[in-house]
Amino acid sequence: MIHNAQLIKQGAEAKVYLAPFCQRQAIIKERFAKAYRHPTLDKKLTSRRVVQEARCLNRCQKALIDTPTVYMVDLENSLIYMEYIEGISVREFLVTAEGETPEAQSRVAKEIGTALGKMHNIEVVHGDLTTSNLMMRKETGGSVVLIDFGLSYVSNLIEDKAVDLYVLERAFTSTHPNTEVMFAQILEAYGESSKAAKLILKKLEDVRMRGRKRSMLG
């Protein structure tokens, strides 16, 4: 680990640092050991997830979806070095003067929907879509970048993709009042870029109806 790395986020399973790396600023994500888990199991899971996250990021990059470029994967120390995205999150953007205008929201919604459609086309499920995990790149004037693939996985299930969208919808409704129109625009753009949009959006309705979860036997 880089000695002058600056801790910028402490999550349930990883710490995120900002640090100089090869003449650039880089994000370093460190997954840490869990005391409750059997050490052998912990090691296996941690290393599997480091690989999974890096692969999902790279898979997106190869499908021309704007995501942080992976720089280096250090399996021994459970670290992923990746591109630092300069900019603000969509969450922050929506409370700026510009972010409150319908025009800006519509533009951003379209980009988000298109990116998510493309991501699902390559069977990547993000697993933690929130407005904090959607960034806007400063250098391009605010194009959307998907970040934090810590819970992502590969799946071709319609259900998984619908739940992915539902998680984002809940994030919108719980944190951003009056953004129903914006979310509808996201789904509209998603409908155009996702190959299985019809099935997934239909499934999304089911997921909404049951409040994410299916009925359970006692």
């Binding site: 349930a12 888990r37 359970m216 036997l217």
Partner: protein, 342 residues
């Protein structure tokens, strides 16, 4: 105020009597009686609805008499009769509900239909004093990570296929472990002697978990692993527990991180497992938090929890009219309007 609680959604038949002294604020809660009778099928077999319902029918009256005797009260002193409306197995549920209805008519009492899962949560909160915990509800039929928000117990994560208790019970059958006192208990005891970890499938999707993969893997491979002499039955029980419990603790932690809570309450039959409690405690300590758990009297299905959840609803003016006292096998935790909490 006194409530009678009748529970029989699975193989345990439980009768409880609880008293809330409404002259204090909050009410002083006293458990007057908590009796239980469990149906144990022969080793290697699960409990079938028909046999379980028969068991409940044959023991319920005697059990109610015992509860009244323990509490030293007469039916006259009871204010409300609470029964499990669901979720659970149809036959056993209705056999108990029938008795609840009959008693209510005979004794002229109000009825309150209770959600079994909410019963577990309210009992856990009452016993442990946990204020606003993330709840891990783990039993033979349910696996849910729950948190309270805006008058509902919301499900953040759950098992996508079989419940964790079901997974453990079914493996106990593979090893032909006795169903007495409980298959999961016997797995827990055997696991204490295990040392070697078998690499098993581990399936977590966000806040959801899946146990069918790990169960079918260990069911299929157990005979060969044992025959090779490399692993003992204890090792397999140990490995299964270590793996499935890690999945539960992981998703619980994720929910805690998500809502910013530092408390976790474990309820349901699997919640008695000491290893699960220990792992949860290690997780909570790493986050600077705390675990609340109850012992077998309250985490295993019982009548008191139904009485407790029922009396809380009753205190807000809620009753279940006779024509709506039917039971339902499916009854989601988040369908219940939690009027008694802020």
């Amino acid at each position: 105020m006194i409530a009678l609680g009748l529970e029989g959604s699975a193989n345990k038949l439980g009768i409880g009597l609880i008293q809330h002294d409404m002259t204090t604020s909050p009410p002083t809660v006293t458990i007057l009686a908590n009796v239980r009778h469990t149906y144990h099928p022969p080793p290697g077999e699960g409990f079938l609805p028909k046999d379980t319902a028969l068991h409940h029918r044959s023991h319920i009256l005697e059990l109610i008499r015992n509860a009244l005797a323990d509490a030293k009260i007469t039916p006259k002193e009871i204010d409300v009769i609470c029964f499990t409306k669901g979720p659970g197995m149809g036959g056993p549920l209705t056999s108990v509900a029938t008795v609840a209805r009959t008693l209510a008519l005979m004794w002229k009492k109000e009825l309150v239909g209770v959600n079994h899962c909410v019963g577990h949560i309210e009992m856990g909160r009452q016993i442990t004093g946990a204020e606003n915990p993330v709840v891990l509800y783990v039993s033979g039929g349910n696996t849910q990570v729950i948190a309270y928000a805006e008058k509902r117990y919301r499900i953040f994560g759950e098992a996508l296929d079989i419940a964790v208790g079901n997974c453990l019970d079914r493996f106990a059958r593979v090893l032909n472990l006795p169903n007495d006192p409980a298959p999961g208990y016997n797995i827990e005891q055997l696991a204490k002697k295990g040392t070697k970890l078998v690499d098993l499938p581990y399936t977590v999707k966000g806040m959801d978990v899946s146990f069918s993969g790990v169960l079918s893997y260990i069911e299929t491979n157990a005979p060969a692993l044992l025959a090779s002499g490399e692993y003992t039955e204890a090792d397999l029980c140990f490995s299964l527990q270590e793996t499935v419990f890690a999945m539960l603790v992981e998703t619980t932690e994720r929910a805690m991180a998500h809502i910013g809570s530092k408390e976790v309450l474990i309820v349901g039959g699997v919640g008695c497992n000491m290893r699960l409690q220990q792992m949860m405690d290690q997780m909570a300590s790493q986050r600077g938090g705390k675990v609340f758990a109850t012992d077998e009297r309250f985490c295993i299905d019982n009548g008191i929890m139904i009485a407790q959840a029922g009396i809380l609803a009753y205190q807000t003016g809620y009753t279940t009219p006779l024509e709506k006292t039917w039971c339902t096998q499916r009854f989601r935790t988040d369908e219940v309007f939690v009027a008694w909490r802020e």
